[in-house]
Symmetry: C2
Subunit: 170 residues, 2 copies
DNA sequence: CAAATATAGTTAAGTTATTAACTAATTGCT
DNA sequence: AGCAATTAGTTAATAACTTAACTATATTTG
């Protein structure tokens, strides 16, 4: 069935490509499987991630820009996501009096309570979606991924694309 | 300065959790970095993925449902994505006369030409975003991720894992 | 000090993603 | 044959996410 000199092979199967493709596919598979789990708490996966970050940084003065960098998400998206979970009473925003451009974001007691309820069943789901790996493999996987992204720019747009200013329209 | 029994530690740092968290973070970092690369060809990353799959399966009779399973994407999303790149002339859909519910999807010569242009520079970008890893590490990373998702259901909602038994490899 | 510039956040338009509800076509059952 | 159930695909509503363009505040500097 397979042609030998097929155009399908024009894209060389390098180690770099295999790594990237597998990350993309795995993310799709994992979020699809975890989605219903979070939905049962009326949360989306990104909303859960947001609450998790806010909990981890609790006590610090967390700006929205920092959240964007932590979550690898654009700043406008942080605004929109926070607005939704703020309406739900899970977080609150307060303007920094010392620099009124900034808003400090904080998880509310309600948000924390929700997080704790999720944590009760979360480990089971995480075990399930990674059931194909042993514990040492899971750790090695995390190590490799963290090593990969360690050298990458945090890249929340803008800061490195600053030269794209005053571009005339065609 | 660190509190010993902090609520931040309520969520245990298991190997399974580390693995999943690192996949999610890596995906965010990678797609953010690769996005501008695809944008320079007037494509989004998912659109590129779609064309790649259509090229790999070229010659086969590819239904939209199959594309959803290959891409780990919901069926309605397949419809919408295909509509856009069909308008751009990169793919075409044709109703199967033998079963008029189905549409066979095919990459057009224009779509193939675009793919080939991207392939010329793609390897460089893939090297760049995985620069933190050696080639053996990249291969090991891909192996672990593929092993992880191998046992998971294709899960495009609805049919769940029902037809997930002994599918012959392409 | 005022003007230029930089920074934090929001709004707007568009793509990608989801689930739920729908249409249309085929299969299966009696 | 005829009607229920299944299957492929679409449409609708909503969330996530992007870039571009905007507001408001702070800082730099001439």
């Amino acid at each position: 069935m397979t042609e030998p000199t097929d155009l399908r092979d024009d894209f060389p199967d390098t180690p770099a490509r295999r790594a990237v493709v597998s990350v993309v596919r795995s993310f799709g598979a994992l979020t699809r499987l975890m989605g219903p789990h979070y939905a049962s708490f009326n949360l989306t996966p990104p909303q859960f991630q947001m609450l998790t970050i806010l909990n981890r940084l609790r006590g610090e003065r967390i700006t929205q820009r920092r959240l964007g960098r932590e979550l690898y998400v654009s700043f406008p998206n942080v605004t929109v996501m926070l607005s939704r979970i703020e309406t739900a009473g899970l977080i609150e925003r307060k303007v920094n009096p010392a620099d009124r451009r900034e808003r400090f974001v904080r998880i509310t007691p309600a948000g924390l309570a929700l997080l704790k309820r999720i944590w009760k069943v979360q480990p089971m789901h995480l075990e399930h979606v990674t059931a194909g790996l042993t514990d040492p493999e899971r750790i090695e996987l995390a190590r490799l991924l963290n090593k990969m992204i360690a050298g990458l720019p945090p890249a929340t747009t803008e800061e490195e694309a600053i030269e794209n200013r005053s571009t005339p329209e065609p």
